[in-house]
């Protein structure tokens, strides 16, 4: 085994952090990179806290935001007739389209992972961006991009499975066009993480 010091591929400054993080953010030039089979730069955005968000417990959570075209080729569910009928009356349910899939990058427990992923994928967050974290700590990422794409499939199937009716078959395509990190603002409370948007 060999230990090497991680340096920014842009300005060669050493990357410093008080926690283990798969995302290497350069504090000098702001370049974000990962090392999964090579040195790869990652695009990222930092979302600003809403003015109403409490100051206490502020923290940033990194998400992989997967931008993809999702097309349902065929689907069959048992039950859920009223939902299907309502969808048909509205003119279909949108069986093809571009979607943003939000995959939490920290090592969350399964229920938290599922809740955050499905909540943000169902309701894409709206935010203004900022250039730095403003002294707010951030949770470390533990999920490489390739694995985030795999879990994006899981998230999208979960969205379909949780519609009314019992899912029996689903044939779909998910064509990934872009993957970037979005640091979303949260407030850490005794009841868990609450979005600070």
């Amino acid at each position: 085994m060999k230990v090497i010091q991680v340096r920014c591929p842009n300005c060669n400054s050493p990357i410093m952090s008080k926690q283990r993080d798969l995302l290497f953010l350069c504090q000098q030039c702001g370049t974000l990179h990962v090392r999964d089979g090579g040195v790869n730069l990652v695009d990222y955005e930092i979302a600003d806290f809403a003015k109403s968000a409490p100051i206490q417990g502020r923290t940033y959570v990194p998400f992989w935001r997967i931008y993809a075209n999702f097309t349902i080729l065929s689907k069959n569910s048992s039950g859920g007739s009223m939902y299907k009928l309502a969808n048909w009356i509205k003119g279909g349910g949108g069986d093809s389209g571009d979607v943003f899939i939000f995959v939490p990058a920290p090592d969350f427990d399964p229920p938290t992972f599922k809740r955050l992923a499905t909540d943000f994928t169902a309701n894409w967050p709206k935010y203004s961006t900022r250039l730095d974290f403003g002294g707010v700590p951030r949770l470390p990422a533990n999920l490489p991009k390739e694995e985030a794409v795999k879990l994006a499939h899981f998230v999208i199937i979960t969205m379909e499975a949780e519609k009314p009716g019992v899912l029996q078959t689903l044939d779909y395509t998910l064509d990934v066009k872009d993957a970037r990190i979005i640091f979303l603002p949260f407030n850490s409370t005794p009841d868990g993480l609450r979005p600070g948007l």
Binding site: M16, H153, F154, T169
Partner: protein, 340 residues
């Protein structure tokens, strides 16, 4: 997971401080200077070794205590004689895999009413799978040692025993281990979902880095009436991992006598009950009793057939605790490769 960090032989290239890494991790931060560090292993594989915590005396005591348990020869404690005790390091592939997916389908439930009419109902199911799966598998040919996976993942880690204890090198490929780890994780998730008839399934696996864990194991060889047997002892916890021991003819005789008697009584009871209480569900009770009787008879036969030797551990082709006859030649051949 209560894994302890490894902190031997690695230092921060920035400040020179000792760094601690956890199994399967490739990124760490130096606790002295906060530098982010990246671990480059041999083909991305990390090596971890557990410290041996057992001495020869403790290994022998564990083996001899094991002799007294179960249906082993009653005179094993008196006649059995330990001939050799020595430690070895065995390599294991180890990783953790996140499993996420959905298993959909249905289950058919058949019900009978009092008139004997049966109806089959289809119960549709959609089951989410989201869990972590721990995988371990021996990374060399274990021969007939009866050890194929690791049960313990916590303990002090060090390479300092490597100079004292003979170490067996890895012989299986990491790619094969990865494939098996993912296949095992998917299979366990599928089984756990409990959907008998699957119509749709997507299970995704997110593996962590693969590590090689060198684990200390004590080999205790002993003789019993001119036959050689082997027991292996966990070098960290001191418990028995695998072993073979002579069975007892008395227990075999008792089993065949008692087992056939019980099987006959249960089957006979069922038949008599069915004859006296003709009609209703008495036929089902008779069939049920006959089935139990046949099961007891089969278990009795298994015990009688294989009870000449008691086997514990992960032996290939082993079914239950009582398995195949001893192949001393195979064990000794295997151990020749491990001996100091």
């Amino acid at each position: 997971m209560p894994d302890e960090a490894l902190s031997v032989g690695l230092s921060c290239p920035s400040c020179g401080g000792a760094v601690s890494i956890e199994e399967g991790e490739s990124v760490i931060n130096c606790r002295y200077c906060d530098s982010m560090l990246f671990i480059e292993g041999d083909m991305g594989i990390q090596t971890v070794a557990f410290k041996n915590k057992v001495d020869p005396q403790r290994a022998m005591q564990a083996a001899e205590a094991w002799w007294k348990k179960g249906f082993k020869a009653r005179d094993l404690k008196k006649v059995g004689k330990t001939t050799e005790v020595y430690p070895i390091y065995l390599p294991f592939w180890s990783t953790t895999i996140k499993v996420a997916g959905w298993v959909c389908g249905y289950e058919e439930k058949t019900r009978s009413d009092s008139k004997g009419n049966t109806t089959t109902e289809r119960v549709y199911k959609e089951v989410m799978v989201l869990q972590d799966h721990r995988f371990s598998q021996i990374a060399c040919d274990p021969g007939d040692l009866g050890i194929r996976s690791l049960r313990n993942f916590s303990g002090e880690r060090t390479f300092e025993d490597f100079t004292m204890i003979p170490t067996f090198e890895t012989t299986s490929s990491v790619d094969e281990a990865r494939k098996q780890a993912e296949a095992e994780a998917v299979e366990q998730a599928r089984r756990g979902a409990g959907v008998p008839h699957i119509t749709f399934e997507r299970i995704y696996t997110v593996p962590r880095k693969m590590s090689v864990i060198y684990y200390p194991i004590w080999v205790v060889r002993y003789s019993y009436r001119d036959r050689m047997y082997v027991v292996t002892v966990d070098g960290v916890g001191g418990q028995i991992l695998s072993g073979r021991a002579p069975g007892d003819p008395l227990y075999q005789s008792m089993a065949i006598t008692g087992g056939t008697a019980v099987a006959g009584l249960v089957s006979g009871f069922g038949l008599v009950f069915a004859t006296l209480e003709a009609g209703g569900s008495s036929g089902y009770i008779a069939i049920f009793a006959l089935a139990i009787g046949a099961g007891v008879l089969y278990a009795t036969y298994r015990f009688f057939r294989n009870g000449s030797e008691i086997i514990e551990g992960e032996f290939q082709g082993k079914r239950g605790e009582i398995g195949n006859p001893l192949d001393v030649g195979e064990i000794l051949k295997t151990l020749e490769g491990f001996r100091p």
